[in-house]
Amino acid sequence: MLGYTITQWLFGILSFLAVMFALLVVFSKNPVHSVLYLVLTFFCIAGHYLLMNAQFLAIVHIAVYAGAIMVLFLFVIMLLNLNEQHEPRRTSVSRIIGVIVAGLFLMVLVGVLKGTEQLQLTNTANAEAGLIKNLGQVLFNEFLFPFEIVSILLLAALVGAIMLGKKEVKENVNENRI
């Protein structure tokens, strides 16, 4: 088909859809619609993982990001006050700050992508490395230390979340005493 393989066609279609849904995330007025478009973006990215022979990662990406993280996003939206009279006014200062932050992020991205020019990707020395069985063998032998570090990272995240989340209750108790 026009000199492209089926993998290249899939890559092109998935990339187009991912970029299109990402733009819709930014441009949709309703924050809940943004979250739903973000779910579709994550599905496209999971398709990219499949093309790169990271099958387990693709499934985990859908389960964790499209499932769990998006629930968190929805809760954050519901924590905010969505009534229109409480809509924060976008001043020109906040717009300038936004442009500066986005520009810096773009610079970082361009810098990283420039660094990969020298990097020669040895394409799929082991095309089945992403399957769960092969992944487990690598994870529990070569990458054992990073795996154990992950548990400390999760522990830190759990403690941090409880510290920040329970603060409100403490304040309430104090208010009741007063």
Partner: protein, 123 residues
Amino acid sequence: MEKSSLLDYLPILIMFGIAAGFAGLILFLTHVVGPRRKTRVKLEAFECGIEPQGNARVPFSIKYFLVAIIFVLFDIEIIFMYPWAANFKVLGILGVIEVFTFIALLLVGFYYMLSKKALKWED
């Protein structure tokens, strides 16, 4: 080493297609078959027969967020157990020790959560 190819995903693709097609078909059928009587009473939000009052856009309690974030963290813990389960016999006793160390560290967090009563729903 297990083998895989893009053709292995054909059943998953078919399943996605059937799921999306079924949802679309049902949405289409409700519009075609269902009667449409747009009166003021029928269009207002259903609130157990009580007159709706106020706005649905009230900020939620942060407790929902706390429960959700704790869920995500233990969700990630479970995901790391799948590669272990698939290699349980190959890894043997060493794998058991590795994963139990992992779980033990997270259990510390679990007991911290219980001792702080993070899941208790008092107002």
